[in-house]
């Protein structure tokens, strides 16, 4: 005979509450009558039976029921023991019980044992916990395939919603199609048994990890079926449309009459399935289809509520991922744009170089044109009147001058193209400056410019190309003279500064406007008509070729300062690497 204790618990779900009155010796005094009926026992009297014969002894021991009863007898306070789990075999769902122990006043002391079925309550709690865990996992997942897999696992996992199969369908971007994206579940009964035996042993997280082993969602066994689950939005089966439009869980059942809507039942091979809409911002952007193709368990309305909560959470997660994807796409687009821009910039820089080159050619052509046309013109003049000796002399003189002009132009153009060659000797920079001032005495005198020298006499000798440096300084001073008026001053200073000699040329002239200041070292930039615009370009090249550099400060109306820095030893300054490179190019 089946032990009474085991059978008692199996009827618990029907009775909701089983009541025993127990005395201090743990003997049952009476029980609620419905028990007997349910158990089908004729003589329904447990009176006098020991509690150990009525309740499964391992439960009594595990949950300390005897000490609890004793406590209630002694203290007269009620006690409750929750979540007593009873399972008769590992294959059946366990029964969950709550036991309430109450002291009742009788002439003989008694306690009441109220055994309540808490299975539903416990399952609800467990489901809520699972939902919470799922939501958390879903919010963490940023990959749409992984997320889809997670959602479908939750719908199919026995300890969550327990459907046999689940499919995710999403509305496409054009909002015209509902497209099957992923399907999860076995493809046959045998597979189902295998999977379920695995599933029951694995936690949800472990299940999710299995997806990482898949290289593509196409490897999932249901993929071919998923591809068939694509519908035009306006001609989708009515049940799906209803779920999408009304944003609620819908149970679809095969109609007796053959309609076109029945094809989806044929495709899935079932007579009923459930549709869970995925809604975000008032818009249904997809659905989950779930069925019980293998165990044919009927779809009941009991966990629609949980499904809804789950669907909301899943929707949020999917929408989040799609938003994330959109952002990622946007980011990628932006990066593409940036690449394009930098490519265009490179192109532009190249064409800028080309245009500088063509400008250079145009400029040189023009500079050649004037002296050349003069030479031609004056030569023709001689030819016209070869006997006019005065004219011949005058024209020949002009022709000679213009030829010199051409030669100068050529020299400068070549210097510019080739860059200066430098031959270093140890020189006193102060001597060089004194030299220049002497050679330019006339220019200063003409404009009545006072030149002040402030030269540091303790400077070391510098390795420089004396002629080149002279040329460089000459260009700076010519520029200064050009920008000064009568009576202005020019100051030249030398001093030693961290292994560098600093030579300062300061004028009290008109100063240089910012836009112009940025251009002064550009070739062919000139504010003068009769200048090639190469003077300062060449100066810079010469200074750079010595491993030095130039800094210019200027304020409109107050004057300009050129600071030339020359290293005491050539090529020994790392910070000037950039310029060194230029130098080596020039040296070639």
């Amino acid at each position: 005979m089946e032990p009474k204790a085991e059978r008692l618990i199996t009827i618990l779900p029907k009775l909701k509450t089983i009541i025993f009155a127990v005395d201090i010796d743990l003997k049952i005094q009476f029980q609620n009558e419905a028990i007997c009926e349910e158990l089908g026992i004729e003589s329904c009297n447990f009176a006098g039976e020991d509690i150990w014969n009525v309740l499964p002894p391992h439960i009594i021991q595990k949950y300390n029921i005897v000490p609890a009863i004793k406590t209630v007898f002694e203290s007269s306070n009620d006690l409750e023991i929750h979540n007593i789990i009873y399972s008769d075999s590992p294959f059946n769902n366990p029964t969950v019980m709550d036991i309430e122990i109450k002291r009742i006043a009788q002439e003989k002391p008694l306690v009441l044992l109220l055994i309540k079925d808490a299975t539903q309550k416990a399952r609800k709690g467990e489901e809520l916990l699972l939902l919470f865990e799922l939501s958390y996992l879903m919010q963490e997942t940023k990959d749409l395939d992984k997320l889809s897999y997670l959602i479908l696992t939750a719908v199919t996992a026995g300890h969550a919603f327990g459907f046999n199969r689940a499919f995710l369908l999403l509305v496409d971007e054009g909002k015209k199609f509902l497209k099957g994206r992923m399907g999860l579940g076995p493809t046959s009964n045998e597979e189902a048994r295998d999977i379920w035996s695995q599933v029951s042993q694995k936690s949800l997280k472990e299940l999710l990890l299995t997806f990482n082993k898949l290289s593509s969602k196409k490897e999932l066994p249901l993929f071919p079926l998923v591809e068939k689950l694509t519908y035009k939005m306006d001609s989708a089966p009515e049940s799906i449309k209803t779920s999408i439009e009304q944003k609620k869980v819908v149970k679809a059942k095969r109609e007796k009459i053959e309609t076109k809507d029945n094809t989806i039942f044929d495709t899935l091979g079932v007579d009923e399935f459930i549709i869970i809409p995925l809604v975000s911002n008032e818009r249904t952007f997809g659905i989950i289809l779930a069925d019980n193709i293998f165990n044919r368990a009927p779809i009941t309305g009991e966990n629609f509520e949980e499904l809804n909560i789950f669907a909301n959470s899943a929707s949020l997660a999917i929408d989040g991922v799609m938003e994330y994807r959109r952002l990622e796409n946007r980011k990628r687009e932006l990066e593409e744009y940036q690449k394009l821009i930098s490519r265009l910039k490179d192109k532009f820089r190249f064409s800028e170089k080309l245009s500088t080159l063509s400008e250079t050619v145009a400029y040189i052509a023009h500079e050649i044109r004037i002296p050349l046309s003069n030479i031609g013109g004056f030569a023709s003049g001689i030819l016209r009147k070869p006997d006019d000796m005065e004219r011949v002399r005058k024209n020949a003189g002009i022709i000679a001058d213009e030829t010199k002009r051409l030669e100068r132009l050529l020299t400068r153009a070549i210097t510019f193209v080739k860059g200066p060659e430098i031959r270093l000797t140890l020189e006193n920079i102060n001597d060089v400056i004194i030299d220049i001032i002497e050679s330019m005495a006339n220019d200063f005198h003409e404009k009545d410019i006072a030149v002040t020298k402030s030269l540091d006499t303790n400077l070391p000798l510098l390795p420089i190309d004396r002629d080149r440096i002279k040329q460089a300084f000459l260009n700076i001073l010519r520029n200064a003279i050009h920008s000064t008026k009568k009576g202005d001053e020019i100051t030249i200073k030398t001093l030693e500064e961290n292994d560098t000699i600093k030579i300062t040329f300061n004028d009290t002239g008109g100063g240089i406007q910012k836009e112009i200041l940025n251009n002064i070292f550009n070739p062919f930039f000139s504010t003068r008509k009769r200048g090639l615009g190469l003077g300062l370009t060449i100066t810079q090249k010469i200074i750079n070729a010595h491993g030095g550099f130039i800094k210019v400060e200027s304020e409109k109306g107050k004057g300009t300062t050129f600071n030339v820095f020359l290293p005491e030893k050539k090529n020994n300054k790392k910070s000037e690497q950039d310029k060194q490179e230029k130098t080596s190019q020039i040296d070639e």
Binding site: H366, R369, I370, P371, L372, S373, N374, I375, G376, G377, F378, A379, S380, G381, R384, K385, R391, K394, N395, I398, D401, E402, R528, K529
Partner: protein, 120 residues
Amino acid sequence: MESIMVVDDDDSIRCLYEQVLTDEGYEVVLAGSGLEAVKIFKKEKPDIVILDIRMPGMDGIELLGKVLDMDRKIPVIINSAYSMYKNNFLTWMADAYIIKSSDLTELKVKIRELLDTRKK
């Protein structure tokens, strides 16, 4: 005698044009800058003006406007080493645009042509 005013800041060019155009039988007046040209134009009232464009201070285009203000009908030839000013519509007010060259034939032909048209 018909008189020509040559405006150019390049000494050699002024000298050359003076020689060539005097040989052609014109009276030549010279100006080395726009400002000088305005003064001389008022005094000498030449029959035709030849202008350089790139000059320091007042450039040829500005001078062209001033000259035409003083005499709406005066023929003006722009004579520049550059062709790029042809794109500047202000130069279209001039009667001709001739690029500088050692061969002054084109310039001489144009001067004759403009002076003849003016007489009619």
